[in-house]
């Protein structure tokens, strides 16, 4: 037990000690009052004060506990209300019987005290006392007669001392003494040692004796009663005689006097006795009530404590603190309840752990599914049986050209209203769901979300989700892209055939034209020679142009033999730009990412892509070309990409520019081959990159290629 517990234990013990002290005080006071004793002597007031202090202490303890209970009630502490009800119930059980006993005891006490007094007894005692007084009067009269006879005999005696001694010897008297009228002793004789020194009568007695009065009285002498006679003795003297009473009657007289005295005193104290016993009974009542209140508070607290612990633990459980164990309180029903709670808490804890594990698995599955969906190139949509959109992967948003994330949880009907381009898709999804078919497949044409001319072709496949999921899933691909790939393949074939079939005759044509010019230039008339020279030069120039065109087709059609390796994109750009630095008209602005992005690419093909973009930008810029070239690492759906941008300040993109401009033989320039952007798209596709073109607000166009960071 530590010091704090010891102090608490002592303070808890104080009310009990106070109650014991109060009980002892009440018992002592009751004993004293009953026996008409003064055992407590001068300490009785301290006992009374101590009892009052004990009452105050116990009252203080009660007030403190009640206040504590009240505070707990206000704080809605577990068990406080139940403890209050317990206390009130216990008090209702304890107080009425105590009050009943108090009332009966009070009445019984008063009746008992009254019964002590009886008129006949009182009269008998008075008679006994009167009889005693009569007997005493007789004895006094006899003593007076003896005293008077003695006074006569001493009237003319000369040797007063001797005469007194002789008279005393002849008498049963205890003392003879003669005083002057001023109280001075003249002579004395005593038969009792206690009377050897005669006490002179006081001045009042002497005065009355001088006036002729004979003073007689009975007085105690030790335990005995004696008769004392004082009378005048001529000339100018006073005679004092003391006479014994018969020894046989003495005890009887004493008993009569003591009994009468006791009875009278008791009779006088009757009301005080009643008051005292009433106060004592009230103190006992107070003691009982205080004890009842203290006991009720303590019992209530002890009984409610396990319930309070249970309530507190229940709150903890509600807060998620599973596995909490509380101390059992014995083998009663509360103990059983506590044990049941502990078992429930343990089971809840185990269930909670299992639920957390299950949740973690679910989260893992969800993350896995999200990753899979995020990496799918096909768009995936799911919706529940009520037609509410539940899932949309990034590819779905990318293919449809709208961000579907904010619309998750939205009914499909509302989705069509907020995104009108998706109306055909939503209608198809709802129709198939309503038909209840297990699986379906169809091709769907959607208007471009960005307002483009070419309709988007989606290949849509759908199915009902398993019974537990209660919903539908739709997977779709952008067939437009697939068609483009097919067209690209066709163009590649055309280009390859052109390169093969057209390029072969070009060299003989060129050689033939040069030979004709060489053989005939000196043999013809000047006018003819001039015509020949002009015609052969035209042929040679056009053949060169055709060769260039055919080489371009060859580049486009060449099957990719990539040598992919980590490549510092900024360095490659710098190398390519160095080739353009000699052109004084050209202004190049570089904004390259300082993080030095690295991509996995074929350096030659990437140079081709850069040359094409730069060439395209220079040709679009006219006489004052200013090219801005930048790289930046961006976050795209959780993965890092490098955005390579080439921007010019030319006339901008042609009207109706769309994806088809990346197909071969689409050009806005009068002398363009129509293969520059097609090669760019082809190289981008070879590296898994995306390419897009956009109009600049400040004028001009910007081409962006997004490479995946290595």
């Amino acid at each position: 037990m530590d010091r704090r517990q010891l102090i608490r234990w002592i303070f808890g013990l104080l009310p009990a000690l106070a109650l014991i002290g109060l009980l002892l005080a009440v018992l002592l006071l009751a004993g004293d009052a009953e026996a008409d004793m003064s055992r407590l002597g001068r300490w009785w007031l301290w006992v009374l004060g101590g009892a009052a202090a004990a009452v105050a202490l116990v009252l203080g303890a009660i007030v403190g506990r009640v206040w504590e209970l009240q505070r707990a009630r206000r704080a809605r502490a577990p068990g406080a209300r139940l403890a209050t009800r317990w206390t009130i119930a216990l008090l209702l059980l304890a107080v009425p019987p105590v009050l009943l006993v108090y009332g009966f005891a009070l009445r019984f006490l008063n009746t008992t005290i009254d019964s002590w007094f009886n008129v006949r007894v009182e009269r008998g005692l008075d008679d006994a006392l009167a009889l005693g007084r009569l007997w005493l009067a007789d004895e006094t009269a006899r003593a007076r007669a003896e005293s008077e006879a003695l006074a006569v005999r001493l009237g003319d005696v000369i040797d007063l001392q001797s005469s007194l001694e002789q008279e005393l010897d002849a008498s049963r008297a205890l003392q003879f003494a003669v005083f002057g009228t001023d109280g001075t002793l003249r002579a004395a004789a005593a038969a009792d040692p206690r009377l050897l020194l005669p006490t002179p009568p006081d001045s009042a007695v002497l005065l009355r004796v001088r006036e002729g009065t004979i003073e007689s009285s009975s007085e105690p002498l030790g335990d005995e009663l004696v008769v004392r006679i004082v009378r005048g003795l001529p000339p100018d003297r006073v005679l004092l005689t003391i006479h014994p009473l018969p020894a046989a009657v003495q005890p009887l007289a004493r008993n009569i006097e003591a009994t009468w005295n006791d009875y009278q005193r008791l009779s006088f104290l009757r009301d005080s006795l009643k008051l005292t016993f009433t106060l004592i009974l009230s103190a006992v009542l107070l003691l009982s009530l205080l004890l009842a209140v203290l006991a009720a508070l303590r019992v209530a607290r002890r009984q409610v404590a396990p319930v309070a612990r249970l309530a507190e633990a229940t709150r903890d459980i509600a807060r998620g603190n599973y596995g909490l164990q509380i101390a059992t309180s014995g083998d009663d029903e509360l103990g059983f309840l506590t044990e049941s709670f502990n078992r429930m808490s343990r089971e809840l804890d185990a269930a909670s752990v299992a639920a957390r594990e299950s949740q973690a698995q679910t989260e893992s599955q969800r993350a896995y599914l999200e990753t899979v969906l995020g990496r799918l190139s096909s768009g995936v949509l799911t919706w529940d049986e009520h037609g509410v959109l539940r899932t949309a992967n990034p590819a779905a948003s990318r293919i449809l050209g709208v961000e579907l994330g904010p619309h998750l949880g939205q009914p499909l009907a509302e989705l069509a209203q907020s995104l009108p381009p998706l109306t055909p898709l939503v209608a198809a999804l709802r129709a198939r769901a309503a038909e209840g078919v297990r699986e379906w497949r169809e091709e769907l044409r959607l208007p471009r979300a960005d307002g483009g001319d070419i309709a988007q072709i989606l290949m849509l496949r759908g199915a009902q989700l398993p019974a537990g999921a209660r919903g539908f899933v739709a997977v779709f691909d952008d067939e437009t892209v697939l068609n483009q790939a097919q067209r690209e393949a066709a163009w590649s074939e055309v280009a390859r055939r052109l390169a093969h079939e057209v390029k072969n005759p070009l060299t003989p044509i060129q050689l033939s034209a040069e030979r004709l010019k060489l053989r005939l230039s000196g043999k013809l008339e000047p006018a003819d020679a001039q015509l020949l020279d002009k015609a052969s030069s035209t042929i040679i120039a056009q053949v060169e142009a055709l060769k260039t065109l055919v080489n371009a087709f060859g580049d486009y059609a060449r099957p990719p033999q990539l040598k992919l390796e980590p490549l510092h994109l900024n360095a490659l750009i710098e190398q390519v730009l160095d080739l353009y630095e000699h052109d004084p008209r050209l202004r190049l602005v570089r904004t390259l990412d300082v993080r030095d992005p690295v991509v996995r690419a074929d350096a030659g093909r990437l140079r081709q892509l850069l040359h094409n973009l730069l060439k395209n930008a220079i040709e679009a810029s006219g006489d004052d070309p200013q090219i801005e070239l930048s790289t930046a690492i961006v976050d795209s759906g959780g993965r890092h990409e490098v955005a390579l941008q080439v921007a010019d300040r030319g006339s901008g993109l042609p009207s109706g520019f769309d994806d088809s401009w990346f197909e071969p033989y689409r050009t806005g320039k009068p002398r363009g081959s129509g293969l520059g952007l097609a090669v760019v798209r082809k190289v981008a596709d070879e590296h898994g990159a995306r390419v897009a073109a956009a109009q600049r607000e400040a004028g001009g166009a910007v081409f962006t290629v997004w490479f995946v960071c290595d």
């Binding site: 008409d36 003064s38 001068r42 007084r133 104290l269 008051l275 005292t276």
Partner: protein
Amino acid sequence: MRYLLLPWLLLLVACHGGGSIESARIVRLPEPVLDASLRLRPSSQMLAALDRGVPLTLRFRLRTQDATPALDTTRRIELRYLPLAQQYQLRDLDTGLMRYFPRQAQLLAALDRVRLPLDVAWAGLTAGTACTLSLVLDVDALPAPLRLPALVSAQWRLNPAEHRWTDGS
């Protein structure tokens, strides 16, 4: 219930005095004696109690003020009625000396002047010493049932004012 209220009713009337100490002096020769003149007016309740066998004890307290050494003496006398002899007894509880009076009035008259022997130390009291004499009815000596009423009731209070004087010689 009236017994519960009685103490409070008694407390309400507890404001009466019961006599005074007219004079006091210390007579040094041959033995030191307190010679005090009193004018006591015991209540009817006290006198009735005396006649009904309840002894009354008067407690005198005599002490010096600002004197070295300080002297403080208590003396008690008891009044008692002897019903068979029909005498009132006045007894010095410290010396045992007794006086008897056939009538209550004589007993009370005898209390007008009391002479109580003192300790020898009082014989050496320096002249000019301030002394104080107080007198109370000794409640502790009353029967137990009377103590509480006596504590709160004026009927059981002699209550003469404390008498102070400067001893002359």
